[in-house]
Symmetry: C3
Subunit: 260 residues, 3 copies
């Protein structure tokens, strides 16, 4: 029995159901798991971040991801064979961070129509290409059987950040359901002057002095703090509050941290 996960920007509903129907028509035993269907429309970077942070918790699985503003154009369709799973989706940067997490081996372009639906539309490759290819991969076809090798998949990564002795410049990548803001700065890249218990200055829309803490609950209700997200990135949060609303910040915003 294969596990197939789905990440899209479709919103939950009939488009997602079409993917599931197509998969189950090919492999009625497949176990389908939703990762996220509310990626901001055409939010490739956000989708890449969510996918990369979700896949590591799964056993070996086929991960289908569809955030695909270029559907119908000449962008390639990919299968990425990794040590701990297989990724299927458009070649627009969406898959590569997750492939790195899973241990990328080889990528292939879906050139052959053999494992696609008989009719491939110009607007819905999730249904016509990615879902059926994923189902066939779950049934055991080799990634290399979908088409030719790709050596240079599109790479967006999560954007740049800068760290110096006095300052950090980075970007907000993701807003969770509580309003916590996850940034692109990995824990390992933090300078020594940002350590637990220290106060730092955050410049974003306005300026704030915030402590860097291990838990939300170490701060008073409604007060902002810095912490490490459950994915290992610097996170801007408010204890029992919505940091995005209170600090007036959202994914895509740049910010600066300074020694206080």
């Amino acid at each position: 029995m294969s596990i197939i996960t789905l990440l899209t920007d479709f919103g939950p509903g009939k488009y997602v159901a079409a993917l599931k129907g197509v998969i189950l028509s090919i492999d009625p035993q497949a176990k389908i798991v939703d990762i996220e269907h509310r990626v901001s429309p055409q939010g490739v970077l956000e989708g890449a971040f969510v996918l990369a942070s979700a896949v590591k918790y799964f056993p070996f699985a086929i991960h289908v991801a569809v955030v695909d503003p270029g559907v119908g154009t000449r962008r390639r369709s990919l299968v990425m064979e990794c040590r701990k799973g297989t990724l299927v989706g458009p070649d627009n940067g969406l898959l590569l961070p997750a492939a790195r997490v899973l241990g990328l081996r080889r990528a292939f372009s879906i050139d052959r129509r053999e494992y696609c639906l008989p009719e491939v539309s110009d607007t819905f490759h999730g249904r016509d290409v990615f879902a059926p290819v994923a189902a066939h991969l779950g049934l055991g076809i080799s990634p290399s059987s979908v088409g030719s090798r790709v050596k240079n998949p599109v790479d967006l990564d999560f954007g740049v950040y800068e760290v110096s002795k006095e300052e950090v410049r980075a970007r907000i990548l993701f807003r969770d359901h509580f309003g916590n803001l996850v940034t692109n700065l990995p824990e390992q890249a933090l300078p020594s002057w940002i350590s637990f218990g220290k106060i730092v200055e955050l410049e974003i829309e306005e300026n704030y002095k915030l402590p860097f803490l291990t838990t939300y609950a170490s701060r008073d209700s409604g007060e902002p703090l810095l912490t490490i997200s459950s994915d290992g990135f610097l996170e801007i949060a408010v204890n029992r509050g919505d940091a995005s609303e209170i600090l007036n910040a959202e994914p895509g915003d740049d910010f600066t941290l300074k020694r206080a």
Copy 2:
């Protein structure tokens, strides 16, 4: 192992969970797939459209649909036996378009209480009637065992449209997550003056001149276009934008297309 799909206007949450619990109590092996739970409250026509466009992607399945403003009144409860699946839900027009897609054979009224929960409430037939009947159908009871034959199920279809040499009048049925507007005009009904590459005039709240195109990406970002939805209906879209917001239009609105 049977596949049981669910479509409701409950919103995701405990009412949907109750359906799943009831189904799994009767058939712990059932594979349950959500189609949509965000149909506009009591939006029978919208639910009928979503159901009809989703069921065709599934292998043989039991499809439960509950958009049921008449619950507790004398409206009948139906099982529709089709060539490619079975439908279960209220007799208010919700099921019939999907039954046509699946190849309707016979419809039955759920008169017998044998396959319902021991107590049938006046407010929640999804849980008390449709879910348990679906689970029993998945375990192999015959559709005819639920009650007597129904020859005249309620038929709403998707509303009328008019096509002439100069003009098309039709209606918006569905707004997807991106804001694309799917209409009730099937591709086959398009007049010859609406063909790919042509410009037509759209009268809705204001007037627009739009090209009819095969892909969103053939239009500049933020610009409106006509295309064919992945379900085969005329669709009003904006490339990388929200057509519903930009054109100020939504499901239920009528519109006119004219030769430009």
Copy 3:
């Protein structure tokens, strides 16, 4: 094959997906069912109500619930062994009403790290503690193997209500997708002067005279009524309308009913 249900305040998405990935990594056969992931952030009472009303429809299952503002503090983590299922989550009142519905036998504190992930973070016990413990419970470990017995789990219940010959004072607990308002007053506690067909006076933000009816559809469209929710609690509703919006009331609001 074990059934594992999930209720959280995470919102659907990657945090929920992490729970599912962890569970499937331990037990790839587990059947995972979502109950609700949209509990108001940190809404322990609301989560407790939703959980208690959902679990009764399920066959024997492991129910994981995570609404956990105290994560990372000294609050205990619990496994509650019940006659009709097992509950896993924080010791903050979230689980106990559901445990009563399922027939509580014994509660245990998750003291041993044996069934948790190798690293337990301070911010995400759902992933690191509750999900892996649930998967192991599904595979057959005994609830008593997770740690020591707990005799006094935190008990919030659903808040108090008062019933007299002239007046009822109670509280709104839950707003469903339609805007119906479910209260904490169980059907059995209703005084004799509130019976079907009677008119009563509701004092909330403003005053209303409402009939107590068995079905929404017995009232004109847009008109408010009292009824019994599908869970057996007094419910304030509007036929084909949103009671929460029309009466300007929401979960947490107190109200009074008087003989009209």
